[in-house]
Symmetry: C2
Subunit: 258 residues, 2 copies
Protein backbone atom coordinates (compact mmCIF):
# COMPACT_ATOMS: atom_id res chain seq x y z
CA UNK A 1 0.00 0.00 0.00
CA UNK A 2 1.18 3.52 -0.79
CA UNK A 3 0.99 5.58 2.41
CA UNK A 4 1.65 9.23 3.27
CA UNK A 5 2.19 10.25 6.88
CA UNK A 6 0.92 13.59 8.16
CA UNK A 7 2.88 14.14 11.37
CA UNK A 8 6.23 12.93 12.66
CA UNK A 9 5.76 12.58 16.41
CA UNK A 10 6.20 9.52 18.64
CA UNK A 11 3.22 7.59 17.28
CA UNK A 12 3.81 8.60 13.63
CA UNK A 13 7.44 7.47 13.94
CA UNK A 14 6.58 4.07 15.43
CA UNK A 15 3.65 3.42 13.11
CA UNK A 16 5.44 4.48 9.92
CA UNK A 17 8.43 2.26 10.80
CA UNK A 18 6.10 -0.66 11.43
CA UNK A 19 4.25 -0.15 8.11
CA UNK A 20 7.56 0.05 6.27
CA UNK A 21 8.74 -3.19 7.91
CA UNK A 22 5.51 -4.84 6.76
CA UNK A 23 6.46 -3.96 3.17
CA UNK A 24 4.28 -0.90 2.65
CA UNK A 25 5.55 2.00 0.61
CA UNK A 26 5.76 5.21 2.64
CA UNK A 27 5.72 7.79 -0.16
CA UNK A 28 6.20 10.94 1.91
CA UNK A 29 6.22 12.48 5.37
CA UNK A 30 4.61 15.85 5.99
CA UNK A 31 5.29 17.83 9.15
CA UNK A 32 4.85 21.46 10.16
CA UNK A 33 8.62 21.93 10.30
CA UNK A 34 10.97 20.49 7.70
CA UNK A 35 13.41 19.42 10.45
CA UNK A 36 10.96 17.03 12.05
CA UNK A 37 9.62 15.82 8.67
CA UNK A 38 13.21 15.06 7.68
CA UNK A 39 14.00 13.29 10.94
CA UNK A 40 11.32 10.70 10.24
CA UNK A 41 11.76 10.63 6.45
CA UNK A 42 15.44 9.69 6.87
CA UNK A 43 14.50 6.70 9.05
CA UNK A 44 12.04 5.62 6.36
CA UNK A 45 14.32 6.41 3.42
CA UNK A 46 11.59 8.57 1.89
CA UNK A 47 10.77 12.19 1.02
CA UNK A 48 9.92 14.96 3.48
CA UNK A 49 7.91 18.12 3.07
CA UNK A 50 6.51 20.91 5.21
CA UNK A 51 4.48 22.35 2.32
CA UNK A 52 0.89 21.13 2.18
CA UNK A 53 0.73 21.87 -1.57
CA UNK A 54 3.58 19.41 -2.14
CA UNK A 55 1.75 16.47 -0.57
CA UNK A 56 1.34 13.90 -3.33
CA UNK A 57 -2.08 12.80 -4.64
CA UNK A 58 -1.10 9.25 -5.56
CA UNK A 59 -1.10 7.51 -2.18
CA UNK A 60 -3.80 4.97 -1.23
CA UNK A 61 -3.85 6.00 2.40
CA UNK A 62 -3.23 9.25 4.30
CA UNK A 63 -2.41 8.74 7.98
CA UNK A 64 -2.91 11.80 10.21
CA UNK A 65 -0.87 11.41 13.36
CA UNK A 66 -0.82 14.96 14.73
CA UNK A 67 -1.94 16.93 17.78
CA UNK A 68 -5.71 16.74 18.18
CA UNK A 69 -6.23 20.46 17.67
CA UNK A 70 -4.37 20.39 14.34
CA UNK A 71 -6.72 17.81 12.78
CA UNK A 72 -9.73 20.06 11.98
CA UNK A 73 -7.57 22.57 10.11
CA UNK A 74 -5.25 20.10 8.37
CA UNK A 75 -7.92 17.72 7.05
CA UNK A 76 -9.68 20.16 4.63
CA UNK A 77 -6.37 21.60 3.41
CA UNK A 78 -4.72 18.25 2.74
CA UNK A 79 -7.69 16.33 1.36
CA UNK A 80 -8.26 18.61 -1.63
CA UNK A 81 -7.95 16.67 -4.90
CA UNK A 82 -7.68 13.35 -3.03
CA UNK A 83 -11.40 12.68 -2.55
CA UNK A 84 -11.26 8.98 -3.55
CA UNK A 85 -8.46 8.06 -1.13
CA UNK A 86 -8.69 6.64 2.41
CA UNK A 87 -7.98 9.00 5.30
CA UNK A 88 -7.36 7.90 8.87
CA UNK A 89 -6.24 9.46 12.13
CA UNK A 90 -4.66 7.75 15.11
CA UNK A 91 -5.93 9.85 18.03
CA UNK A 92 -7.69 8.08 20.88
CA UNK A 93 -9.47 11.26 21.95
CA UNK A 94 -10.74 12.50 18.56
CA UNK A 95 -14.00 11.25 17.07
CA UNK A 96 -14.36 9.72 13.62
CA UNK A 97 -16.59 12.66 12.71
CA UNK A 98 -13.66 15.06 12.43
CA UNK A 99 -13.44 13.79 8.80
CA UNK A 100 -17.17 14.18 8.14
CA UNK A 101 -18.13 16.11 4.97
CA UNK A 102 -14.43 16.57 4.17
CA UNK A 103 -13.56 13.22 2.59
CA UNK A 104 -15.44 10.11 1.38
CA UNK A 105 -13.58 7.19 3.00
CA UNK A 106 -12.26 7.64 6.47
CA UNK A 107 -11.51 5.92 9.71
CA UNK A 108 -9.56 5.76 12.95
CA UNK A 109 -6.72 3.42 13.88
CA UNK A 110 -5.91 3.83 17.56
CA UNK A 111 -2.99 1.66 18.70
CA UNK A 112 -3.22 1.88 22.49
CA UNK A 113 0.37 2.11 23.63
CA UNK A 114 2.91 4.62 24.97
CA UNK A 115 5.27 5.51 22.14
CA UNK A 116 8.66 7.20 22.34
CA UNK A 117 10.86 7.86 19.34
CA UNK A 118 13.85 6.18 20.95
CA UNK A 119 12.09 2.97 21.90
CA UNK A 120 10.90 0.37 19.42
CA UNK A 121 7.72 -1.47 20.37
CA UNK A 122 6.29 -4.75 19.15
CA UNK A 123 2.97 -3.91 17.49
CA UNK A 124 1.83 -7.58 17.48
CA UNK A 125 0.80 -7.34 21.16
CA UNK A 126 -0.65 -3.81 21.00
CA UNK A 127 -4.45 -3.63 21.02
CA UNK A 128 -5.55 -1.67 17.94
CA UNK A 129 -9.01 -0.08 17.95
CA UNK A 130 -10.52 0.73 14.58
CA UNK A 131 -13.58 2.56 13.32
CA UNK A 132 -14.60 3.53 9.79
CA UNK A 133 -17.36 5.39 7.96
CA UNK A 134 -17.85 2.86 5.15
CA UNK A 135 -16.92 -0.63 3.96
CA UNK A 136 -14.00 0.55 1.85
CA UNK A 137 -12.29 2.35 4.75
CA UNK A 138 -13.14 -0.45 7.18
CA UNK A 139 -11.69 -3.12 4.92
CA UNK A 140 -8.44 -1.14 4.49
CA UNK A 141 -8.25 -0.58 8.26
CA UNK A 142 -8.97 -4.21 9.14
CA UNK A 143 -6.36 -5.50 6.77
CA UNK A 144 -3.72 -2.98 7.94
CA UNK A 145 -4.49 -3.45 11.63
CA UNK A 146 -4.40 -7.23 11.33
CA UNK A 147 -1.00 -7.05 9.67
CA UNK A 148 0.22 -4.99 12.60
CA UNK A 149 -1.37 -6.63 15.60
CA UNK A 150 -2.97 -9.83 16.89
CA UNK A 151 -5.51 -7.76 18.81
CA UNK A 152 -7.80 -5.73 16.57
CA UNK A 153 -11.13 -4.45 17.88
CA UNK A 154 -13.94 -2.41 16.34
CA UNK A 155 -14.80 0.44 18.71
CA UNK A 156 -17.06 3.49 18.36
CA UNK A 157 -15.80 7.05 18.92
CA UNK A 158 -17.90 7.31 22.06
CA UNK A 159 -16.37 4.16 23.59
CA UNK A 160 -12.90 5.18 22.42
CA UNK A 161 -12.99 8.46 24.36
CA UNK A 162 -13.49 6.51 27.59
CA UNK A 163 -10.83 4.01 26.57
CA UNK A 164 -8.41 6.90 25.98
CA UNK A 165 -9.23 8.40 29.38
CA UNK A 166 -8.66 4.98 30.99
CA UNK A 167 -5.31 4.75 29.16
CA UNK A 168 -4.23 8.13 30.58
CA UNK A 169 -4.78 6.76 34.09
CA UNK A 170 -3.14 3.36 33.47
CA UNK A 171 -0.16 4.77 31.60
CA UNK A 172 0.53 8.51 32.01
CA UNK A 173 -0.62 8.77 35.62
CA UNK A 174 0.96 5.46 36.65
CA UNK A 175 4.17 6.66 35.03
CA UNK A 176 3.91 9.94 36.93
CA UNK A 177 3.70 7.92 40.14
CA UNK A 178 7.02 6.35 39.06
CA UNK A 179 8.39 9.86 38.39
CA UNK A 180 7.36 11.07 41.86
CA UNK A 181 8.91 7.94 43.36
CA UNK A 182 12.14 8.51 41.41
CA UNK A 183 12.21 12.13 42.58
CA UNK A 184 11.95 11.16 46.25
CA UNK A 185 14.67 8.50 45.84
CA UNK A 186 16.89 10.93 43.95
CA UNK A 187 16.69 13.53 46.73
CA UNK A 188 17.92 10.86 49.15
CA UNK A 189 20.61 9.35 46.92
CA UNK A 190 18.86 6.01 46.52
CA UNK A 191 19.10 4.65 42.95
CA UNK A 192 15.75 4.29 41.13
CA UNK A 193 16.78 0.74 40.07
CA UNK A 194 15.84 -0.59 43.52
CA UNK A 195 12.21 0.29 42.72
CA UNK A 196 12.00 -1.74 39.48
CA UNK A 197 11.11 -5.15 41.00
CA UNK A 198 8.22 -3.49 42.86
CA UNK A 199 7.06 -1.66 39.72
CA UNK A 200 7.22 -4.91 37.73
CA UNK A 201 5.31 -6.96 40.31
CA UNK A 202 2.67 -4.22 40.66
CA UNK A 203 2.07 -4.37 36.88
CA UNK A 204 2.24 -8.17 36.74
CA UNK A 205 -0.13 -8.59 39.68
CA UNK A 206 -3.10 -7.08 37.82
CA UNK A 207 -2.83 -9.85 35.22
CA UNK A 208 -4.04 -12.22 37.94
CA UNK A 209 -5.96 -10.05 40.44
CA UNK A 210 -8.18 -7.03 39.82
CA UNK A 211 -6.45 -3.77 40.81
CA UNK A 212 -8.77 -3.43 43.81
CA UNK A 213 -7.91 -6.95 44.99
CA UNK A 214 -4.23 -6.30 44.34
CA UNK A 215 -4.08 -3.09 46.41
CA UNK A 216 -1.86 -3.01 49.52
CA UNK A 217 -0.23 -0.31 51.67
CA UNK A 218 -1.24 2.30 54.24
CA UNK A 219 -4.18 3.86 52.34
CA UNK A 220 -6.13 0.63 51.83
CA UNK A 221 -5.76 -0.08 55.58
CA UNK A 222 -6.37 3.67 56.16
CA UNK A 223 -3.40 3.69 58.51
CA UNK A 224 -3.54 7.38 59.47
CA UNK A 225 -0.35 7.11 61.47
CA UNK A 226 1.73 6.09 58.43
CA UNK A 227 -0.13 8.47 56.10
CA UNK A 228 0.49 11.45 58.40
CA UNK A 229 4.20 10.61 58.57
CA UNK A 230 4.30 10.51 54.77
CA UNK A 231 2.47 13.82 54.44
CA UNK A 232 5.00 15.39 56.82
CA UNK A 233 7.76 14.32 54.41
CA UNK A 234 5.97 16.08 51.54
CA UNK A 235 5.55 19.50 53.14
CA UNK A 236 7.95 21.18 50.73
CA UNK A 237 5.81 20.23 47.74
CA UNK A 238 2.13 21.16 48.29
CA UNK A 239 0.94 19.78 44.93
CA UNK A 240 2.48 16.35 45.57
CA UNK A 241 1.02 16.44 49.08
CA UNK A 242 -2.44 17.06 47.56
CA UNK A 243 -1.90 14.14 45.18
CA UNK A 244 -0.93 11.91 48.12
CA UNK A 245 -4.02 12.95 50.12
CA UNK A 246 -6.47 12.48 47.26
CA UNK A 247 -5.01 9.19 46.06
CA UNK A 248 -5.15 7.82 49.63
CA UNK A 249 -8.74 9.01 50.13
CA UNK A 250 -9.78 7.46 46.85
CA UNK A 251 -7.98 4.15 47.54
CA UNK A 252 -9.89 4.02 50.81
CA UNK A 253 -13.18 4.90 49.07
CA UNK A 254 -12.73 2.09 46.56
CA UNK A 255 -11.74 -0.44 49.23
CA UNK A 256 -14.86 0.41 51.22
CA UNK A 257 -17.15 0.10 48.19
CA UNK A 258 -15.84 -3.41 47.59
CA UNK B 1 16.99 -21.09 62.75
CA UNK B 2 14.03 -21.26 65.11
CA UNK B 3 11.68 -18.44 64.26
CA UNK B 4 8.40 -17.15 65.75
CA UNK B 5 6.16 -14.91 63.72
CA UNK B 6 4.19 -12.11 65.37
CA UNK B 7 1.51 -11.25 62.83
CA UNK B 8 -0.20 -13.17 60.05
CA UNK B 9 -0.91 -10.57 57.37
CA UNK B 10 0.22 -10.45 53.74
CA UNK B 11 3.90 -9.87 54.46
CA UNK B 12 4.03 -12.28 57.43
CA UNK B 13 2.44 -14.98 55.27
CA UNK B 14 4.86 -14.54 52.38
CA UNK B 15 7.93 -14.18 54.56
CA UNK B 16 7.12 -17.12 56.84
CA UNK B 17 6.50 -19.38 53.84
CA UNK B 18 9.81 -18.30 52.31
CA UNK B 19 11.71 -18.96 55.57
CA UNK B 20 10.11 -22.37 55.87
CA UNK B 21 11.08 -23.21 52.28
CA UNK B 22 14.66 -22.23 53.12
CA UNK B 23 14.63 -24.87 55.84
CA UNK B 24 14.05 -22.70 58.89
CA UNK B 25 11.91 -23.93 61.73
CA UNK B 26 8.83 -21.74 62.28
CA UNK B 27 7.99 -22.64 65.88
CA UNK B 28 4.80 -20.65 66.25
CA UNK B 29 2.54 -17.95 64.83
CA UNK B 30 1.00 -15.32 67.08
CA UNK B 31 -1.86 -13.16 65.90
CA UNK B 32 -4.47 -11.00 67.64
CA UNK B 33 -7.22 -13.40 66.59
CA UNK B 34 -6.83 -17.16 66.69
CA UNK B 35 -8.53 -17.47 63.29
CA UNK B 36 -5.84 -15.50 61.48
CA UNK B 37 -3.04 -17.12 63.52
CA UNK B 38 -4.44 -20.53 62.51
CA UNK B 39 -4.80 -19.56 58.85
CA UNK B 40 -1.05 -18.98 58.59
CA UNK B 41 -0.02 -21.74 61.03
CA UNK B 42 -1.82 -24.34 58.90
CA UNK B 43 0.14 -23.27 55.82
CA UNK B 44 3.36 -23.62 57.83
CA UNK B 45 2.33 -26.83 59.61
CA UNK B 46 3.06 -25.21 62.96
CA UNK B 47 1.34 -23.99 66.14
CA UNK B 48 -0.90 -20.91 66.47
CA UNK B 49 -1.71 -18.73 69.44
CA UNK B 50 -3.48 -15.48 70.19
CA UNK B 51 -2.23 -15.43 73.78
CA UNK B 52 0.93 -13.43 74.34
CA UNK B 53 1.75 -15.47 77.47
CA UNK B 54 1.86 -18.61 75.33
CA UNK B 55 4.55 -17.30 72.99
CA UNK B 56 7.54 -19.61 73.42
CA UNK B 57 10.90 -18.41 74.77
CA UNK B 58 13.08 -20.84 72.84
CA UNK B 59 13.17 -19.26 69.37
CA UNK B 60 16.33 -17.60 68.03
CA UNK B 61 14.43 -14.91 66.17
CA UNK B 62 11.13 -13.08 66.69
CA UNK B 63 9.75 -11.48 63.54
CA UNK B 64 7.18 -8.71 64.10
CA UNK B 65 5.12 -8.26 60.98
CA UNK B 66 2.13 -6.28 62.26
CA UNK B 67 0.45 -2.89 61.77
CA UNK B 68 2.84 -0.07 62.64
CA UNK B 69 0.73 1.18 65.53
CA UNK B 70 0.70 -2.27 67.16
CA UNK B 71 4.51 -2.44 67.40
CA UNK B 72 5.11 -0.13 70.41
CA UNK B 73 2.59 -1.99 72.57
CA UNK B 74 3.45 -5.54 71.43
CA UNK B 75 7.23 -5.30 71.76
CA UNK B 76 7.44 -4.82 75.56
CA UNK B 77 4.76 -7.42 76.20
CA UNK B 78 6.29 -10.09 74.00
CA UNK B 79 9.97 -9.51 74.75
CA UNK B 80 9.72 -10.27 78.48
CA UNK B 81 12.00 -13.17 79.39
CA UNK B 82 13.51 -13.28 75.89
CA UNK B 83 16.16 -10.60 76.38
CA UNK B 84 18.99 -12.55 74.68
CA UNK B 85 17.06 -13.27 71.47
CA UNK B 86 17.02 -11.32 68.20
CA UNK B 87 13.95 -9.19 67.44
CA UNK B 88 13.15 -7.73 64.06
CA UNK B 89 10.29 -5.92 62.41
CA UNK B 90 9.48 -5.69 58.71
CA UNK B 91 7.84 -2.25 58.45
CA UNK B 92 9.24 0.22 55.94
CA UNK B 93 7.79 3.17 57.80
CA UNK B 94 8.83 2.31 61.37
CA UNK B 95 12.28 3.24 62.73
CA UNK B 96 14.72 0.77 64.27
CA UNK B 97 14.39 2.72 67.53
CA UNK B 98 10.94 1.29 68.23
CA UNK B 99 12.89 -1.60 69.88
CA UNK B 100 15.20 0.71 71.86
CA UNK B 101 15.50 0.00 75.60
CA UNK B 102 13.12 -2.94 75.21
CA UNK B 103 15.44 -5.65 73.89
CA UNK B 104 19.21 -6.12 73.38
CA UNK B 105 19.53 -7.35 69.78
CA UNK B 106 17.23 -5.91 67.20
CA UNK B 107 16.88 -4.94 63.62
CA UNK B 108 14.69 -4.30 60.61
CA UNK B 109 14.22 -6.46 57.53
CA UNK B 110 12.18 -4.54 54.94
CA UNK B 111 11.51 -6.58 51.81
CA UNK B 112 10.23 -3.93 49.38
CA UNK B 113 7.42 -5.63 47.52
CA UNK B 114 3.61 -5.75 47.35
CA UNK B 115 2.45 -8.89 49.09
CA UNK B 116 -0.93 -10.57 48.87
CA UNK B 117 -1.79 -13.80 50.63
CA UNK B 118 -3.05 -15.43 47.44
CA UNK B 119 -0.01 -14.63 45.35
CA UNK B 120 3.39 -16.24 45.81
CA UNK B 121 6.36 -14.03 45.04
CA UNK B 122 9.97 -14.86 44.28
CA UNK B 123 12.04 -13.33 47.08
CA UNK B 124 15.32 -13.73 45.15
CA UNK B 125 14.58 -10.60 43.08
CA UNK B 126 13.08 -8.53 45.92
CA UNK B 127 15.34 -5.80 47.30
CA UNK B 128 15.71 -6.34 51.07
CA UNK B 129 16.77 -3.43 53.24
CA UNK B 130 18.28 -4.24 56.60
CA UNK B 131 19.35 -2.31 59.67
CA UNK B 132 20.48 -3.52 63.09
CA UNK B 133 21.53 -2.13 66.46
CA UNK B 134 24.56 -4.40 66.96
CA UNK B 135 26.79 -6.97 65.26
CA UNK B 136 24.83 -9.95 66.50
CA UNK B 137 21.53 -8.72 65.05
CA UNK B 138 23.22 -7.50 61.88
CA UNK B 139 24.90 -10.82 61.26
CA UNK B 140 21.62 -12.70 61.73
CA UNK B 141 19.86 -10.26 59.40
CA UNK B 142 22.57 -10.38 56.72
CA UNK B 143 22.61 -14.13 56.68
CA UNK B 144 18.79 -14.42 56.58
CA UNK B 145 18.38 -11.69 53.97
CA UNK B 146 21.08 -13.19 51.75
CA UNK B 147 19.36 -16.56 51.89
CA UNK B 148 16.15 -14.85 50.74
CA UNK B 149 17.32 -12.40 48.15
CA UNK B 150 20.14 -11.51 45.77
CA UNK B 151 19.64 -7.82 46.59
CA UNK B 152 20.42 -6.98 50.20
CA UNK B 153 21.18 -3.42 51.22
CA UNK B 154 22.04 -1.75 54.54
CA UNK B 155 19.81 1.30 54.99
CA UNK B 156 19.21 3.65 57.92
CA UNK B 157 15.75 4.29 59.37
CA UNK B 158 15.83 7.83 58.07
CA UNK B 159 16.58 6.72 54.49
CA UNK B 160 14.05 3.88 54.79
CA UNK B 161 11.17 6.25 55.54
CA UNK B 162 11.77 8.01 52.22
CA UNK B 163 12.17 4.68 50.46
CA UNK B 164 8.83 3.58 51.89
CA UNK B 165 7.15 6.80 50.74
CA UNK B 166 8.66 6.30 47.27
CA UNK B 167 7.31 2.73 47.26
CA UNK B 168 3.78 3.97 48.06
CA UNK B 169 3.92 6.14 44.93
CA UNK B 170 5.47 3.49 42.66
CA UNK B 171 3.22 0.68 43.86
CA UNK B 172 0.04 1.68 45.72
CA UNK B 173 -0.63 4.87 43.77
CA UNK B 174 0.34 3.33 40.41
CA UNK B 175 -1.98 0.44 41.23
CA UNK B 176 -4.74 2.92 42.07
CA UNK B 177 -4.27 4.43 38.63
CA UNK B 178 -4.92 0.92 37.28
CA UNK B 179 -8.00 0.69 39.51
CA UNK B 180 -9.35 4.01 38.20
CA UNK B 181 -8.66 2.85 34.66
CA UNK B 182 -10.45 -0.46 35.30
CA UNK B 183 -13.40 1.42 36.77
CA UNK B 184 -13.80 3.62 33.68
CA UNK B 185 -13.53 0.59 31.38
CA UNK B 186 -15.98 -1.37 33.49
CA UNK B 187 -18.60 1.39 33.27
CA UNK B 188 -18.35 1.17 29.49
CA UNK B 189 -18.23 -2.61 29.19
CA UNK B 190 -14.66 -2.73 27.91
CA UNK B 191 -12.66 -5.61 29.44
CA UNK B 192 -9.69 -4.54 31.60
CA UNK B 193 -7.50 -7.08 29.75
CA UNK B 194 -7.13 -4.68 26.80
CA UNK B 195 -5.18 -2.35 29.14
CA UNK B 196 -2.55 -4.94 30.16
CA UNK B 197 -0.12 -4.46 27.24
CA UNK B 198 -0.07 -0.72 27.96
CA UNK B 199 0.43 -1.30 31.70
CA UNK B 200 3.27 -3.73 30.97
CA UNK B 201 5.04 -1.44 28.51
CA UNK B 202 4.69 1.53 30.91
CA UNK B 203 6.44 -0.50 33.62
CA UNK B 204 9.04 -1.96 31.25
CA UNK B 205 9.83 1.43 29.73
CA UNK B 206 11.28 2.82 32.97
CA UNK B 207 13.91 0.08 32.94
CA UNK B 208 15.43 1.87 29.94
CA UNK B 209 14.29 5.51 30.24
CA UNK B 210 13.80 7.67 33.32
CA UNK B 211 10.08 8.14 34.13
CA UNK B 212 10.30 11.78 33.05
CA UNK B 213 11.83 10.79 29.69
CA UNK B 214 9.26 8.00 29.31
CA UNK B 215 6.23 10.27 29.87
CA UNK B 216 3.73 10.72 27.01
CA UNK B 217 0.10 11.81 26.70
CA UNK B 218 -1.94 15.02 26.90
CA UNK B 219 -0.54 16.36 30.20
CA UNK B 220 3.11 16.35 29.16
CA UNK B 221 2.12 18.25 25.97
CA UNK B 222 -0.29 20.26 28.15
CA UNK B 223 -2.98 19.70 25.54
CA UNK B 224 -5.79 21.61 27.26
CA UNK B 225 -8.30 20.56 24.62
CA UNK B 226 -7.88 16.84 25.41
CA UNK B 227 -7.59 17.42 29.16
CA UNK B 228 -10.82 19.44 29.24
CA UNK B 229 -12.65 16.68 27.37
CA UNK B 230 -11.35 14.16 29.91
CA UNK B 231 -12.41 16.32 32.86
CA UNK B 232 -15.90 16.57 31.35
CA UNK B 233 -16.09 12.76 31.43
CA UNK B 234 -15.23 12.75 35.14
CA UNK B 235 -17.90 15.19 36.34
CA UNK B 236 -19.78 12.53 38.27
CA UNK B 237 -16.75 11.82 40.47
CA UNK B 238 -15.27 15.04 41.91
CA UNK B 239 -12.43 13.30 43.78
CA UNK B 240 -11.23 11.50 40.64
CA UNK B 241 -11.53 14.79 38.74
CA UNK B 242 -9.29 16.44 41.35
CA UNK B 243 -6.78 13.60 40.97
CA UNK B 244 -6.81 14.06 37.18
CA UNK B 245 -6.25 17.82 37.48
CA UNK B 246 -3.42 17.56 39.99
CA UNK B 247 -1.64 14.70 38.24
CA UNK B 248 -1.79 16.63 34.94
CA UNK B 249 -0.53 19.84 36.54
CA UNK B 250 2.32 17.97 38.19
CA UNK B 251 3.27 16.08 35.00
CA UNK B 252 3.47 19.45 33.28
CA UNK B 253 5.51 20.95 36.15
CA UNK B 254 8.04 18.10 35.97
CA UNK B 255 8.28 18.27 32.17
CA UNK B 256 9.00 22.01 32.36
CA UNK B 257 11.67 21.56 35.05
CA UNK B 258 13.52 19.12 32.79
Amino acid sequence: MKIIFIGSGNLATNLAMAFKQLGHDILQVYSRTIESANALAIKLDTAATNDIKEIRNDADLYVFSVTDTALPTLIPQISQGKEDKVFIHTAGSMPLSVFKDQVQNYGVLYPMQTFSKTREVNFRTIPCFIEANNDKAQSVLFSLANELSDKVYLLTSDERKYLHLAAVFACNFANHCYALSADILNRHNIPFEVMLPLIDETALKVHALSPIEAQTGPAVRYDENVMQKHLDLLLENPLVKEIYERMSLDIHRMAQNQ
